[in-house]
């Protein structure tokens, strides 16, 4: 069950925030309001009238529009086509529609160009297309599911300006987030969800982030902060002059990584900040050997591995927590114990010589399930049937079991609940104490700042800035992420960390 006993009342013409930790059931609730999923019981009342929403079409007809957590755009279609899809009756699919799009775009300052292919747009632009899609349908109630997750702080404030403008026009906005500072800064009302049910409401002006957080989690928030430093002088991973170019589908060669240089020492966590799509994924893939750099060197524990195959690197001691666990970390339809072998098939206990040792692998999977608290009835169930958090714990357990020298952790706690999050942080800290080097990539700037010993900022394929995690604030990091600041970032005491910090 994803939702039960939900009570939610939203006033017209307000911004209503919905918060709750990952997996609390926020998205599910919104999908119900948008007709994408059917509730087993309960009622939805809109403007005093009880409604039944069987499909998104019903919801749209009643003026409800939704911007999904994961963008719902077809890359190969143009912005115009994406916008008019499903609403062709309104203004046709030709010039009428184009004019209307321009009109809306101008009215709310969205700056949307109708004839561009969506695949050529960046994240913030895509989000504006999504909002325009909703407005184009004349929605009076907007649902925004975690619209800020992929934006840098500057883009967030631009978005909030848009939202306030919408509110001024009399529209209702339901806004989902688990970033409490944001919520408090923009919302008129707040509803908190935990484990699929509403646990309370709050008025922003009378609530502190701490109160809200405790309402959300039901307990003290864990902190990702690293206490004592364990950094040593021994370099574990050295990257020098790394350059990588990729050919896109039009045959155009683009530079995705340029002059990347850094060193991670034993016992050091290097945090890499950056807006998604600025080359972090490619850097990870280059270090993992999934992409072959044009020039530069990668050295692991004294051994050059620039062009070594992925397997060699894994055997050489790189552990990998991938960004997208479903695509890169798991075999969804395979049982857990086979997932335990994945990536380490050549290592003990998974195989002996050329042959698999299924028995030993099974036994070791049992151990991981136990030690890493993977909530599962057994190791024969498929990975697909576990929840995201438990899948992640399995992956962490697997990677840690081989005592890596270097751990590449990309968004290690994305979509993971608070309990599991703390556990994963503990794992990383503990291994770090024993000399593990970590390359950490995260969109959660608090996690990044809290866990790292060193911070670097990546922008358009280059490392443009560095910062000291002890003093830096998310805002300052954010400005470097948009390319507004470079070099060594110094914390300026005068500034007040408004809206960005949730502790």
């Amino acid at each position: 069950m994803a939702n039960h006993d939900i009570h939610l009342t939203v006033r017209r013409g307000t911004v209503h925030a919905l918060c709750g930790e990952n997996g609390a059931g926020k998205s599910t609730l919104m999908k119900i309001l948008y007709g994408m999923q059917k509730p087993d019981e309960g009622t939805i009342t809109l403007d005093g009238e009880q409604v039944a929403l069987h499909s998104p079409a019903d919801a749209i007809a009643r003026g409800i529009g939704m911007v999904h957590q994961h963008f719902m755009l077809a890359d190969n279609l143009t912005v115009l086509e994406n916008v008019v899809l499903g609403a062709e009756k309104l203004h046709g699919i030709g010039n009428g529609a184009r004019a209307k799009i321009k009109e809306i775009s101008d009215a709310y300052g969205l700056g949307v160009r109708p004839d561009v292919l969506v695949e050529d747009l960046g994240v913030a632009d895509r989000q504006r297309v999504e909002i325009l899609k909703v407005l184009y349908r004349g929605a009076r109630t907007l649902i925004l599911d975690e619209p800020t997750a992929v934006l840098v702080p500057q883009e967030v404030s631009a978005l909030f300006d848009n939202l306030r403008e919408l509110k001024a026009e009399g529209l209702t906005v339901i806004f989902i987030s688990h970033k409490l500072g944001e919520v408090l800064s923009v919302a008129d009302d707040i509803t908190v969800i935990r484990r699929g049910t509403t646990v309370g409401t709050a008025v922003p002006s009378e609530t502190t982030p701490k109160q809200l957080a405790e309402l959300m989690v039901g307990e003290e928030l864990p902190s990702p902060e690293t206490r004592e430093s364990t950094v040593t002088d021994t370099p574990m991973l050295t990257v020098e002059g790394l350059h990588l170019s990729a050919t896109d589908s039009d045959g155009v060669v683009r530079t995705v990584l340029d002059g990347i240089e850094f060193t991670i020492h034993k016992g050091e966590v290097l945090g890499l900040a950056g807006v998604e799509g600025n080359g972090q994924a490619e850097l990870v893939e280059a270090i993992m050997g999934m992409r072959d750099p044009d020039s530069g060197t990668v050295t692991l524990d004294g051994a050059e591995i620039t062009h070594a195959p992925t397997r060699k690197r894994r055997e050489g001691g790189i552990g990998y927590i991938p960004e997208d666990r479903h695509r890169h970390g798991l075999l969804l339809e395979a049982p857990l114990w086979e997932n335990r072998i994945l990536g380490h098939v050549t290592e003990k206990p998974n195989s002996k010589g050329m042959f698999l040792d299924n028995k030993a692998a099974r036994a070791d999977t049992e151990r991981i399930v136990r030690e890493f608290d993977v909530r599962t009835p057994g190791i024969e169930v498929t990975a697909a049937s576990l929840s995201g958090g438990n899948q992640q714990k399995l992956i962490v357990g697997r990677e840690m079991s081989h005592l890596p020298k270097l751990l590449i952790a990309a968004h290690p706690t994305r979509g993971v609940d608070v309990g599991a999050q703390a556990q994963i942080w503990d794992q990383i800290r503990e291994a770090r104490r024993e000399g593990l080097a970590v390359l950490l990539i995260s969109a959660d700037l608090d996690e990044l700042i809290g866990l790292s010993d060193t911070l670097r900022v990546m922008f358009r394929g280059r490392l443009v800035a560095d910062a000291d995690p002890a003093t830096i604030t998310p805002e300052e990091l954010g400005s470097a992420m948009t390319g507004a600041a470079t070099g060594h970032l110094e914390h300026e005491e005068s500034e007040n960390g408004e809206g960005g910090d949730n502790k």
């Binding site: 999923q37 499909s55 008019v84 899809l85």
Partner: protein, 429 residues
């Protein structure tokens, strides 16, 4: 005609629809390329004396050979634009040919065409049920479809056409073929056809060639060919210029996004796959009507070739038409004139490869350039040392050409993004 030429053209015709221009072909450009192709062909004809290269008969039969392949390709396009891979085209063609044969001997060719459409659509429906409703892997379902269609048509052919003493048997049917049906009427543009013929006879450089090609396209053209041409145009307008088409294509690009906007993805997928079957069925019917009967094994792998034309045509109607045309051209060339004429083509391909090599070399790609140059040199040698090409090689040309086109251009092709991916309602992220 050659690989590089047409595929280059197809490429241009079908290039990514990049908003305001970019690589979108302009009308004069298309005309220029066609003109260039014609000049090359005429030069080749004049040089080698292979008069059949541009004769009206050659183009007329190329057209007839292209239509069923093109219809299959168009069928594939419909399905795949909605995200369903249809390798069952071959089976749907069989069903179409069979239904046409069954209807045709009793009620004439027009109803045969209708029956073919219905038969193919039924095949499409089964494929849709398996893939859309039950979520079976598309290729697996398509293979199963082909096996089923073969079994069913053979069984019912025996029962309905070959039963001892039945009316069908009396009328000339047997286990493997239906009784014959009437001719599908055809038409020629009066006046024009005769005049063109007189021009064509003179074998004047270019002039006669153009006359030959034109005459081939306006003389004794089956009405069904006209229908097919209209279907190509219609497909373009429906899929790219109507709301229905936008929705259908969105199901192939991102069904989850379409669903979130209230599009019933299942409905559109069903519609697309059924239309796909109908088109392939019409392709099968075209074969049956052309030979006045259904016969066992009539489709001869054309469904698969249709699939290939769809891919090398970059999932665009213009591209499918071009590559089906290329297939038809090669097919009829080898059937009509055999080895010596195909032999002449070696020269053309060699020349074009040299051009290709030069182009790649200029672009700084030495490796492919050298490869092309070496192949070109080998072809020159082959051309110079022989008088004809063995029939077996001629036979294989369409397939080799497809492989060549794909291996040269596959990287640039752009299939619908969610093509072949399973989709379940309400399970998008």
């Amino acid at each position: 005609m050659s690989t590089t030429f047409t595929s280059g053209l197809a490429e241009r015709l079908t290039g990514k629809n990049k908003g305001d221009g970019g690589r979108k072909p302009t009308y004069p450009m298309v005309m220029l390329i066609i003109a260039g192709g014609l000049i090359l062909l005429s030069a080749l004809r004049a040089l080698t004396g292979a008069n059949d290269l541009t004769s009206s008969g050659q183009f007329s039969s190329a057209l007839a050979a292209a239509v069923p392949i093109g219809l299959a390709g168009l069928g594939g396009l419909w399905a795949e634009r909605a995200g369903v891979v249809n390798i069952g085209l071959e089976g749907m063609m069989m069903l179409g040919a069979f239904s046409a044969g069954w209807m045709g001997w009793q009620h004439g060719p027009w109803l045969a065409a209708v029956a073919g459409i219905v038969g193919g659509a039924l095949g499409g429906l089964i494929h849709a049920i398996a893939t859309v409703t039950f979520g079976v892997d598309h290729i697996i379902s398509g293979v199963a479809m082909n096996i089923l269609a073969l079994g069913v048509t053979q069984y019912f052919a025996k029962l309905w056409f070959g039963a001892e003493g039945s009316a069908a048997q009396q009328a000339g049917g047997n286990d493997k073929q239906s009784p014959v049906m009437d001719n599908m009427p055809d038409f020629s543009i009066p006046g024009l056809s005769g005049w063109l013929q007189s021009v064509e006879k003179h074998h004047w450089f270019l002039v006669s060639d153009v006359a030959g090609v034109l005459r081939g396209l306006v003389t004794d053209v089956s009405w069904l060919t006209i229908v097919a041409a209209l279907l190509f145009a219609g497909t373009f307008f429906v899929l790219w210029r109507s709301a229905f088409g936008l929705r259908l294509r969105s199901c192939g690009e991102s069904p989850v996004a379409a669903e979130s906007l209230g599009v019933n993805v299942y409905t559109y997928k069903y519609a697309a796959v059924v239309v796909s079957g109908a088109m392939a069925g019409l392709g099968g019917a075209f074969l049956a009507i052309g030979t006045h009967m259904y016969s066992d094994g009539q489709t001869g792998g054309r469904g698969y070739i249709g699939l290939a034309t769809m891919i090398s045509g970059n999932w665009r109607p213009g591209g499918v038409a071009m590559s089906a045309g290329l297939f038809g051209f090669m097919d009829s060339l080898q059937l009509r004139s055999g080895g010596p004429t195909v032999h002449a083509l070696l020269l053309l391909i060699a020349v074009l490869l040299v051009g290709f090599a030069a182009w790649r070399f200029k672009g700084g790609k030495t490796k492919p350039a050298i490869g092309a140059a070496v192949v070109a040199a080998l072809l020159f040698v082959w051309f110079a040392l022989t008088k004809t090409v063995p029939l077996e090689f001629v036979d294989a040309t369409p397939y080799v050409v497809t492989l060549l086109v794909l291996s040269l251009f596959a990287q640039r092709l752009r299939m619908p993004k969610a093509n072949g991916k399973p989709y379940r309602k309400g399970q998008g992220k």
